[in-house]
Symmetry: C2
Subunit: 473 residues, 2 copies
């Protein structure tokens, strides 16, 4: 029997999603419109994401800093495209310390301007470059419609901002950070994302190009989760960030930025979870194993404690649920919270010399001898679950990946079962806009493809790009 | 020769402080008035503080969450004392998404209201209690005069907010968290802080009582760094946070909050640093050992690499400075950045079979055999430095700790050499205000003392409290 608090996924996907978020205590709505409270279970996932990504960033030479929360309007106005991109969705501080401010301050929607403003006074020679800075912080965008994790006015993220002495190095950085995101999705989140370049229409305001990491949700709707931008010298010209190059000439720096957000928690839910609640890949689960003792006797308690100790000593995060609830209640709770492995240590089972292990992803129950080397067994099982989850998600993604040769194909797919749609494109914005008229379908990314041939899916002119299209969150 | 970029500490303490902050690249002013940029070296110290404190909090059962950045004015207004305390120093968002807001939003100066607003819908029975939540975040207070780390409009902190079913348990939590701060100062920051209770005048707006952790800077001025508040049922009544107790009666929860901020970085500087720059206790130093190879030969490089590897493998954070700068420049840079131990591996030294180790705290140089077991040696040295720094700071604090029997004593001390001043007090606010007239001297804390006798330092009436007074940042 599925969880009563959770609408069935196939009945109402949107309702199912928010039910899972609430039932697993990941987040809740707050009294502040458009803002959520990230609850302990949700925040623990974010902490795990942070610790993995932060290590990767540092391995590649990045360091963390903290820029101000507020940006003066006069400073923001220096880069026209950025202002136009963000001004409809910023929040303005106009009063501080009981006084009306002369120069309004916006709450950062992103921090390119602040980093530029800092960098310009802190570099002078090519020897000072590159600067590889990142920050973990909150940002605010005044969204009209919001959904927990997927879109909210305030969200948490990391934003890397680097400056370089050559174009080549900056482009390499842009690619490298996209690789970090892509690998993180595959290796930790068990999400088979795809990557590519955004079209001119969909790229970040002010970027020369934007790379994107796109994941497909269970319902066939895409989620952009992780972008890496190459700015060239656009911002450094606007904010006057110059250095003396090796030829002793003044030159503007080459800049990148890249970010991932708490949105990734939304992706985890919509790719892996089911009617019983959250399903988490073991490598991202804040708690990996729950032990449920059944029947209060010495052997049950001793074995439960022994397992817990051995597993934790081997870096498998394990806890015992010894609360006063019934075993059935504990099972359901561990399920809804997405604990990857449950070990039932039962009095009657022990009489038969066995214990029962349950996988969260498949809900399969496995009986093993109570004398099993629990560490090896669980380690292997967690690996299997991690791999199986990626495989299952890949299968789903592939089932929902289509090809369209013309607008009728495209319409048909989007009206039957949306997904990733491969189709050729001439590169004309007008075609992109015409495609958008079909249920809001957008280009997800341009796929690197040197042998593009055939006709544009929309206008039938010669195609220049191989593009993946789809609906999006 | 002291660092040229740093004003001498004894010449101008305030200037010395900002010079150290800038020379060690801990923080810099930003173009956003009253807000700083925390640079990599400063942020790395904060990350180290976070990781240590976060582990302590979690060991005691606390979990992390994230509340919204913004508080609606209508919500804030529910608790009168809090509003009165904070309203002069908040920043108001009045425009969002190009529209004027009906209910203004303030940027959180602290989050009691947000936690209460959340808790009220998430508990019903004593079985749901306690809730032991903490968050790491940024807050904003519209300060008029600001100084890097010590006082800035935006700062980073952690704020714990817990609710309990009994008064006793909540008071125990309030005390316990003060212990955590106090121990952190002594065991990690090597700062011999004192603790006690704030007077009615100095306590947090809305608290029943406030415990405080007070450190004395090198110049004899006190810094409040770490407070723990007991709220009783004040907020829970204002925000209607009720539960059903064991007798099946509705009762308001008992609440605490406690916090520490990036201010602690300011304390570290002003207690330990010197005319050569930053001095960091090894346990809080993001980099503990620097190896400087002198003269490019195989033995120098091999030994440097061997040391680096052995030390890092034993959790002693070590790097080699193999940049193209001169050894003298590298020494000065390591000094200004406060690297606790410097190992010089020199060609000529090696011919004599030795290497030179320099302590940052005492600037003492020690020659040891190149065959020394480097891990044991450095481990012991780091422990010695940590202990010596606490001892030295304690000696300084004790030298700057005085006793006053009357206002003349007090005036004399404050005008000659300020410090912690022990003096009896009748408990009357009028006396506290009169004492404040002497150079702004405030009560730091009431010291637990069961045998208070004698007269009030101000009015000569019978004393009720043993109080420590002093100037403050």
């Amino acid at each position: 029997m599925a969880n009563e608090k959770i609408t069935k996924r196939d009945v109402d996907f949107a309702k199912w999603y928010t039910d899972v978020v609430k039932a697993a205590h990941l987040a809740d709505y707050s009294s502040v419109k458009g803002c959520i409270v990230i609850e302990p279970n949700g925040y623990a996932i974010w902490e795990k994401m942070q610790s993995i990504l932060d290590k990767e960033f540092k391995k590649l030479g990045h360091v963390n800093v903290q820029m101000p929360l507020l940006i003066p309007e006069s400073m923001l106005n220096k880069e026209k495209e950025l202002v136009e991109g963000f001004s409809p969705e910023v929040a303005w501080v106009t009063v501080g310390g009981n006084k009306t401010l002369e120069d309004r301050l916006c709450i950062r929607p992103t921090s390119e301007t602040l980093f530029c403003d800092y960098y310009k006074d802190h570099i002078s020679s090519y020897k000072d470059l590159p600067k590889l800075y990142n920050q973990w912080c909150n940002v605010l965008r005044w969204e009209k419609e919001t959904r927990p994790f997927l879109r909210s006015r305030e969200f948490l993220w990391q934003e890397g901002h680097t400056i370089h002495s050559t174009k080549e190095e900056a482009i390499k950085e842009t690619n490298q950070m996209m690789d970090v995101y892509y690998n993180f999705f595959h290796n930790y989140l068990a999400i088979p994302s795809i990557r590519g370049m955004k079209t001119e229409k969909e790229k970040f305001s002010g970027a020369e190009f934007t790379l994107t990491n796109e994941a497909l949700m269970y319902n066939g709707v895409a989620l952009q989760a992780g972008t890496s931008h190459y700015f060239g010298q656009k911002f450094s010209e606007a904010y006057d960030v110059k250095f003396t190059n090796k030829n002793n000439e003044l030159e503007y720096v080459y800049q990148t930025s890249w970010g991932t957000t708490t949105r990734m928690i939304g992706a985890l839910i919509m790719v892996h979870s089911d009617d019983y609640g959250l399903v988490l890949p073991p490598k991202i689960a804040p708690k990996q194993v729950v032990i449920v003792p059944i029947g209060d006797n010495e052997e049950v308690n001793n074995l439960s404690n022994k397992f817990k100790e051995e597993l934790n000593n081997n870096d498998i995060i394990t806890y015992i649920d010894d609360s006063e609830k019934s075993p059935g209640f504990k099972f359901a709770e561990a399920e809804v919270n997405g604990i990857p492995v449950r070990i039932e240590v039962g009095k009657r089972d022990l009489e038969k010399g066995i214990i029962t292990v349950a996988r969260r992803d498949t809900r399969e129950k496995i009986e093993i001898s109570k004398d099993t080397d629990i560490v090896s067994f669980v380690k292997e099982l967690l690996d299997t679950i991690q791999n199986d989850m990626l495989e299952k998600a890949t299968k789903r993604r592939d089932e929902l990946t289509f090809k369209a040769d013309n607008l009728d194909d495209m319409k048909n797919i989007l009206e039957t079962q949306p997904g990733f749609i491969h189709a050729n494109w001439c590169g004309d914005k007008a075609c992109e806009e015409k495609i958008k008229e079909i249920k809001g379908c957008k280009s997800r990314c341009i796929v690197p493809d040197e042998n593009v041939s055939g006709k544009c899916v929309c206008c039938s002119k010669e195609a220049k790009y191989h593009v993946i299209w789809g609906l999006q969150y």
